[in-house]
Amino acid sequence: MHNRFALLVAFAVLAAAPWLGAYPVFLMKLMCFALFATSLNLLLGYVGLLSFGHAAFFGVAAYVAGSALRDRGLPPEVALLVGAGVGAALGFVMGLLAIRRKGIYFAMVTLALAQMIYFFCVQVPFTGGEDGMQGVPRGRLFGALSLDDDLTLYYVVLAVSAVAFAFIGRVIDSPFGRILGALKENEARTVSLGYDVDRLKLLAFVISAACAGLAGAMKTLVLGFATLSDVHWTMSGTVILMTLLGGLGTRYGPAVGAVIVVGLETKLASFGTWLGEVTHIAWFQGLGESVSIVTGVMFVACVLLFRRGIVGEIARLRERRVQTPEHLTGRMMQNDAA
């Protein structure tokens, strides 16, 4: 299967990371966004549906989980499940509407619906409007284990993410995943083969939304608040960038993308100062204020220069070295056949 070994290594490294001086809260945030991006990739990379409204699932789940923990005093595991559930439910409704349009319209519909949800979140009281939902406690796992200690929470989050990733991987390899691939290729044909395309799409959408919701809920649990920026369309944009940067339709690309983008958001300023110091180019000093520009440049670069994304490109270089046998033999056979 898909290099299990590499996965185990990665998992081991993550498990050890806090002891190697990595900063747990930051790592947890990374995992949340990695999961978020991967959930989008399930849709974008494997079904070819560009959802420009994934922030809605992420953000709303973040709020609901938050209020579950803070106002209802529910235990974290429940809050996470609720988050995923809310994501799924919202995904079902948005999906029902969105799958009625194909291609690029799909992206616009999801974007618009998400914007609607954003305005909703701005106005309803329980989100705390632009002040955000603050001071969410981490609670006790199964009512017993307190998660206030960063390390404890870290391993919980790690476990949850691992399971979620395994799940998504399985979906991709399942018979269902196969048909999604075909669907991506030629919808009309899939219909004529007797498949109920809309239900297939909807299911994929719901699964993806549920994972996005889980990611959102987990983020609230980690950081202790949920705010409008989680629901805003720029968040959808960011997660698309993560997926694209890492590699559409690659298994682990989105996670890689997430690490880079989140790292960038938090570290760009210091990175800029550093660049400024080493290169003595004053401009870099101001890099911190240009995150949006830098993000834009990354989008452009990804689309124009390496569309396969980081992981995708690496994979291709590998193939290049081991020039794909089928390709060649394919040609030869053709000649024999003719």
Binding site: Y23, K29, V122, G135, K219, L223, G224, E289
Partner: protein, 388 residues
Amino acid sequence: AEISDGVVKIGVLTDMSSIFSDIGGKGSLVAAQMAVDDFGGKVLGAPIKVMSADHQNKTDVAATVAREWFDNQQVDMVQDMLPSSVALAVSNVAKEKHRIAIASGAGTTKLSNEACSPYTIQYSYDTYALTTSLVKAMARAGDNSWYFLTVDYALGASLKNDSAAALNAAGGEVLGELKHPMHAADLSSNLLQAQASHAKVIGLANAGAGTVNAIKTAREFGINAPGKQKIAGLQMFISDVHSLGLKSAQGMMLTTPFYWDRDDASRAWSQRFYAKTGRMPTFIQAGVHSSTLHYLNAVQASGTDSSDAVLAQMRKTPVNDFFATNGVIRADGLMVHDMYIAEVKSPEQSKKPWDYYTIKQTISAQDAYAPLSARHCPLVAGKVVAGK
């Protein structure tokens, strides 16, 4: 001296790339740096380092940076923290890590009420002071019937509610309210209705682009032509007036905790700021400077940079400088100081660049801010003092 890890680190956490970058942003960083330089760059023999981060108006980025600063960089004090969402989130982190958070940028009254923290100081202003001072002053002057244009989120609500309460207290009446969504590009419709209400004052319970657009449109429709209705900005920064231009903004009333041209001290500092940035300071940027100095003095005086001692010292010492007069940090963490009612000059009255306000009257700290008794800050109830 008692300086942990031999350096005092001040982190300016602000929005440099999004909608708040004009009122805080780079300006706040400059202001903080100026304070450090004015102080001599060293305290108790230890160097003072100013760090900064742009949270792009994303709370999660802000909180992660703050945590990272406290845990890995030993930052002693976080500064600015606008907007409210960031202030509230970072305030929680600071409380957890026992470090000082000076919210010079945030105006939400929550910060010194439900959400108050022994480690957080709300320094420049709060929305209550901005609105009530203005409403009371205008009502006394006879402008006692108001119609509100309220932006449909928390800020709008609190601006509107505070002023409505103040208005009723002053015997005035609210003729109506109209909510509008954030990013409403065009408020003309709302203004037309406000006009139709024949209220004496149209109160703008919104901020930034919303306020600016409303004022423009009002001018366009001649709603606030002399002798007609007045427009009151419940939260206006000098940067807003600057971008509007006096032609549109003239004649409107507002409250400000600081005006660069108020006295020699403020003028002197502001001109130095202007020389560095090409803009006159907003009251947030001025607040950053003032509070940073106040902090450093407290460190100096208490001979340590341990949060609790420094905070105690800061509370003990009243603030009287180019920024604040009669300033006191209360138990709820709010720094109360005098406020000023200003009217925006007409192009003719304006003699020099950034010559925008005429200060109409001064509201004393006591009248401007809500009394401690009216606060729901746990710290006040039990009169808990930081750290004890």
